[in-house]
């Protein structure tokens, strides 16, 4: 059963330099200039089944973030259809809802609610979240007194306790100290074993090869290759190396 299905999806962004202000809008209308569209994704089709773990690889600007935005329901495609079933938690820029003046505890409550926890779930999960993060007694201190590692640990702990059906991990495992990284990987492995779907994003493919048996390689908005991660990553690495040499 596919939990994520993209069929011939294209997503374009209108280049609107200067059109964000009233003057820009007026000039555009008066000149009647044609829209210049930048296609971030072009005719992308794939399916991800329940319980699959897929790595999304590609250089900066390949369209990875746009694709994740579509999966997360943050944007609508311009062509084609996207269908996603199940609860989704995206570790996109961990802690984007965090605020420095709030304490760790208040931030956990706020972020949990943002990720979709109900009041009852929050009550049940709170202690587990704090335990996992290892923040300890700092939980009642304002977040601005935390080290960046502590913030990331707390943010990851909230996201993983949301118990999503689909988890998106975006370049975030490179943070935190080694013991915390090991804890995260262990938690993600447990998440995979219980039949949930995982999407990892990285421009350092070796980092995700162990987690994901399948990889999709994006370049300039198109799917270049989709298959077993060892093969895809080998080809990707060769192309990258060739590009660096020339």
């Amino acid at each position: 059963m596919a939990v994520i299905r993209f069929s011939e999806v294209s997503k374009g962004f209108v280049r609107h330099t200067g059109r964000r202000l009233l003057g820009g809008h007026l000039v555009h209308r008066l000149r009647n200039s044609a829209k210049e569209v930048f296609w971030a994704l072009r005719d992308v089709s794939f399916e991800i089944g329940k319980g699959e773990s897929v790595a999304l690889i590609g250089a900066n600007g390949a369209g990875k973030s746009t694709l994740l935005g579509l999966v997360a329901g943050l944007a609508d495609p311009d062509k084609g259809t996207v269908s996603v079933t199940g609860r989704l938690a995206a570790l996109l820029e961990l802690g984007s809802g965090f605020h420095g003046d709030l304490t760790g505890r208040e931030n956990v409550y706020l972020n949990g609610a943002l990720l979709g926890l109900s009041r009852g779930e929050m009550k049940r999960q709170f202690d587990r979240i704090v335990d996992f993060s290892g923040v300890g007694e700092f939980i009642d201190e304002p977040l601005r007194t935390y080290s960046s590692g502590m913030i990331v640990r707390l943010a990851f702990s909230v996201a993983i306790q949301v118990e999503p059906d689909i988890l998106i991990v975006d370049e975030v495992l490179a943070v935190g100290d080694q013991s915390f990284q090991a804890k995260c990987l262990e938690r993600i492995a447990a998440f995979q074993r219980s039949g949930n779907t995982l999407i990892c994003v990285s421009h350092v493919p070796s980092a995700v090869q162990d987690l994901c048996p399948r990889a999709i390689w994006l370049d300039h908005g198109r799917v270049v290759k989709d298959g077993p991660s060892a093969n895809v990553i080998e080809d990707y690495t060769q192309v990258r190396l060739a590009a660096v040499r020339s």
Binding site: H25, L74, R119
Partner: protein, 255 residues
């Protein structure tokens, strides 16, 4: 898709606004009271000492406070809701929460502030010897109507601000102009009758008139004003909601 608890999220967002606002103020609630009191003092001085004018019902200080509090709430909630989507870009672009929650939480967050000021107003009404009357029972309804109106306007302008970033300056200028066009420091009787309909269809003006009728004249609100207030408030809320739903589809592209 986001399948969370919208009410719980709203609760948390309002709490966040409240905590951030008051944590950085040593005098906390006092600041909520200072601004309307200063305005009340200045306007009372100007319109009783500098430009003495025809007498109004009740003490001028209370009369003018009935205008300042609804107007201040409207101006502050409207301008902070307008910038809410653009200022919370990290939330809107990273988490798939229903985006309506962002401007609505800002408006409701301002209600905490408003509640304190209403308490001040009612206290001063009693201090000035106007007393409590049965028509006070209308107060919750008329305040809820104003909040609904501001939610509608806030939704619409927060969405417009995403597309046209100078919308916030339009709102600021509009607020400056509105201060004079809403009967904050003059009674409706000073306005020529042919312009009265403008005031009755403007929910902020209508609310001020209703407040004065209830608090100063101890009379029930005029039915036709109440109906128009309800009509424009509900209309603004529906229009704001529909407009927001249409505009939010391309938020991601413009943020």
């Amino acid at each position: 898709m986001w399948r969370g608890d919208a009410i719980y999220l709203l609760h948390n967002l309002i709490l966040k606004d409240f905590r951030i606002r008051y944590r950085n103020m040593s005098l906390g609630v006092f600041w909520s009271l200072l601004n309307p009191l200063v305005m009340m003092g200045v306007l009372t001085f100007v319109f009783t000492q500098v430009f003495p004018r025809a007498s109004t019902d009740g003490p001028f200080a209370i009369f003018v406070l009935c205008g300042i509090i609804p107007f201040n709430f409207f101006a502050l909630a409207w301008s902070s809701a307008t910038v809410s989507i653009v200022d919370n870009v990290t939330l809107v672009k990273r988490v798939s929460i229903p985006r309506e929650i962002v401007p609505v939480s800002v408006v409701l967050g301002n209600c905490v502030h408003l509640g304190i000021q209403i308490a001040l107003l009612l206290l001063l009404v009693i201090v000035f010897g106007k007393g409590v009357n049965v028509h006070w029972l209308w107060l919750p309804l008329v305040w809820v109507l104003e909040i609904a109106f501001v939610c509608g306007v806030g939704l619409l302008f927060s969405a417009l601000d995403v597309y046209v970033r100078d919308m916030r300056y339009v709102v600021e200028s509009a607020n400056t102009v509105l201060f004079w066009l809403v009967p904050v420091f003059y009674p409706l009787s000073s306005v020529r009758p042919e312009f009265h309909f403008v005031y009755e269809y403007n929910p902020i003006a209508a609310l001020i008139l209703v407040l004065r009728t209830i608090l100063l004249e101890a009379k029930p609100p005029v039915a036709s004003t109440l109906v128009k207030l309800a009509f424009t408030s509900v209309f603004a809320l529906i229009l704001g909601y529909i407009g927001f739903r249409m505009l939010k589809r391309r938020f991601y592209d413009y943020l």
